[in-house]
Symmetry: C2
Subunit: 433 residues, 2 copies
């Protein structure tokens, strides 16, 4: 009897997790490799960054989620390299041989060549990013409360969010809520509602990928929460603020809290695939894939999710959102099983069920199943869909309860300032991760 | 009209928080100073360390908890020194004048002169300690899964808890549960139930402060969870294990995870009070206080909670537990209000309603209201009392729900390995906090 077909999956995000779940019970041996021991529900990460939810409520241990699959092994390890000739993944402390490889290592923030901005303006990709951003937002109000000088106090109360996509819009809206509602009665020397929340978007339009109607509705909701949207391109960042180019010239904004939601780049594993398997990368490092999500010349290597540049459906690459990754994960799994039976599947097709974003308490904009709507119905749809996709039942109930409680009391209980400062004391001590 | 009487409270633990709450609406101006922005429910910290609860579920923002008191101000700041002549607290970035001072800065771990053990064997006092311990416990199982050498694998699967008081017993019991229940189906190469969990207690008796019957019941519960209790005094600690003195000579235990629950010492503010106000300290740095919880010669300075050595009731100092701190906090507040009316209060008396500890699923030992019991009734009493004292209603419901869910599914959802390693790579890089 031959050994079972070995599938290695790199990454336990939406793509990797859904591929692994789909392969449960299939006649293959699956090894899922991730640096972290948990799956993270990234669409709600901004709620951790703004104190509405706790990290544990949007994360699930990978071993637990996958422990029903006796053919699935979880390996907590760093991938150092790929050996595509010998078909093995080189880990920092070992090796994992494969017959089929699924690369689903996701994306990280991208500073357009200004990587040194990361410490000044953190992005939001990991649990640590979220607690760091939460720490900075809350500490800024604390510092403002203690600051006697009006100009310096103003800088502490100025929050700049760079980038007007869904993450930037949701972060800005949540900070607006914190300033107007959550902290309303908490301070003596300052009025948190006087916070200056600026969303800088180079195109001038928030949610540029949505329809004009929804984009306008989002902007109106933001304005109601005290957020100002400016058409501006950041050209310089430091601990004291932001310099940006606008239509009326360069402006300088004194701000002690700057958050980055402007760009993502694919995992560095993309470059490894370029070097080892002659894959082509696009401008942001994504791997250009075939209609079946594999790379040219290597039908045994799938690249899916945020790492993949899949342009066969509309001519444009599919967006880096969870539903694409989930569907590609299931597709890769199905393709592997079909091949073992000597069959092939038709090309991958993304079933776009729409997209949505929330902007503050009871407000959202949605574009789902061909319907476009905003306000309370969109918000309820948003709640429902996000709860449904939380992997663990436990998390669904806790998050539902926390939301209901936060909604009624206008409170955010997870307002903990924890951890050490990541902002370096001296320029030489950058600690990135 | 004269200025209102100024009360400064140092510390937002049980003592400081209950003093502040009691002064709500009193004719005094209250400033509560804490390094952190939240009150931490320390009795449940071991449940964060063992993945049953999330940090946010046992912490409450101090500003929120106290924002109903318009005469109460919260200051997030470090105390650098005290000027008892001029009656002011010197902060690292400012000053706070007082008419009455309440010092309630708590305690930290104590390594009996071996402070360098802290990085090898962390104690459990802060949220960061708890997530660090959680990280180490979970990473140990991950490392064992990948380790081929049987002796090294055994060292990864060996957990040593030093100290058999309530924290040590609860930690050991929880690790026993993790090994036997939580992780049962999660690994392929190892059987987590083979973990070697050792509780080292120099007296040989766990929960030595309880009655013999309860102490025996606790030990039996621990044994049922696979924990071995040994009479042993730790004399050396390093990254590879523990050396301890036993009745039959020195032993060496190869263990990669060592947790410290053996001793606490009062906050360094005790030494400041000794130097500035001639206070006497006991062996573990606690400030010896008068029957009214003030220090001799300074009726305007109260010292309460874990920092106070109060021996007027039984001849023995009161234990460092939450109920003592709460009652002393209320007493200090009442004394301040009485004095403003020209009255005095009788000496402080601790109303001891008993103590309890849980050991694994559905098990506890209790000694409350003069009744001693163990098993399920003790566990239910333990649940009820701990929920009751959680400061926020929201937290009570979420914790109740998490417990019920964990109980039914035998799962612990908050099993996140987060943060960077605190264990230093090189000996010179100790990062204490």
């Amino acid at each position: 009897m031959s050994e079972p077909h070995r599938v290695v999956i790199i990454g336990g995000g939406f793509g990797g997790l859904y591929a692994a779940k789909r392969l449960r019970g299939a006649p293959v041996d699956v090894t899922l490799v991730d640096r972290r021991n948990f799956h993270l529900f990234q669409p709600l990460l901004y709620q951790v960054a703004t104190g509405a939810l706790s990290p544990g409520e949007i994360a699930s241990p990978l071993r637990y989620v996958l422990n029903q699959g006796r053919n699935i092994q979880v390996l907590m390890a760093n991938v150092a390299d790929l050996d595509v000739q010998e078909r093995r993944v080189i880990l920092s402390d070992g090796m994992a041989g494969y017959d089929t490889l699924i690369v689903a290592a996701g994306a990280r923030h991208h500073y357009f060549g200004n990587d040194h901005w990361e410490d000044t303006a953190p992005g939001l990709k990991t649990i640590e990013d979220a607690t760091e951003i939460r720490r900075r937002i809350l500490l800024a109000f604390e510092a403002a409360e203690r600051e006697a000088d009006p100009a310096r106090r103003r800088a502490w109360l100025t929050f700049v969010i760079v980038g007007g996509g869904p993450t930037g819009v949701e972060l800005a809206g949540a900070i607006g809520e914190i300033a107007n509602d959550t902290l309303r009665y908490d301070f003596h020397s300052i009025n948190p509602a006087e916070a200056n929340i600026l969303l800088l978007e180079s195109s001038g339009r928030v949610l540029g990928a949505y329809t004009d109607k929804l984009s306008d509705a989002a902007e109106k909701s933001l304005i109601r929460l005290g957020v100002r949207v400016r058409k501006a391109l950041v050209i310089h960042l430091d601990d004291e603020g932001v310099t940006a180019k606008t239509d009326s010239g360069e402006i300088r904004i004194a701000a002690r809290t700057v958050l980055w939601a402007a760009g993502v780049a694919a995992s560095p594993l993309g470059a490894v695939l370029r070097d080892r398997a002659r894959a082509s990368l696009d401008r942001v490092g994504r791997v250009v894939v075939e209609p079946d999500c594999t790379i040219p010349g290597h039908p045994e290597i799938f690249v899916i999710g945020d790492m993949a540049h899949f342009a066969h459906q509309t001519g444009q690459p599919l967006p880096g959102v969870a539903p694409v990754a989930m569907q590609q994960g299931r597709y890769a799994a199905d393709t592997i099983v079909a091949r073992l039976k000597g069959r092939t599947l038709p090309a991958f097709r993304y079933a776009d069920r729409g997209s949505m974003a929330t902007i503050g308490r009871g407000k959202a904009v949605a574009d789902v199943f061909g319907l476009r709507f905003d306000g309370a119905p969109a918000w309820l749809a948003w709640l429902f869909i996000h709860l449904m996709y939380l992997v663990e039942f436990n998390n669904r109930l806790v998050v539902l309860f926390q939301w209901a409680y936060n909604y009624v009391t206008r409170n955010r209980g997870a307002r903990l300032i924890t951890g050490e400062a990541r902002r370096p004391e001296k320029p030489g001590e950058l600690r990135l991760h």
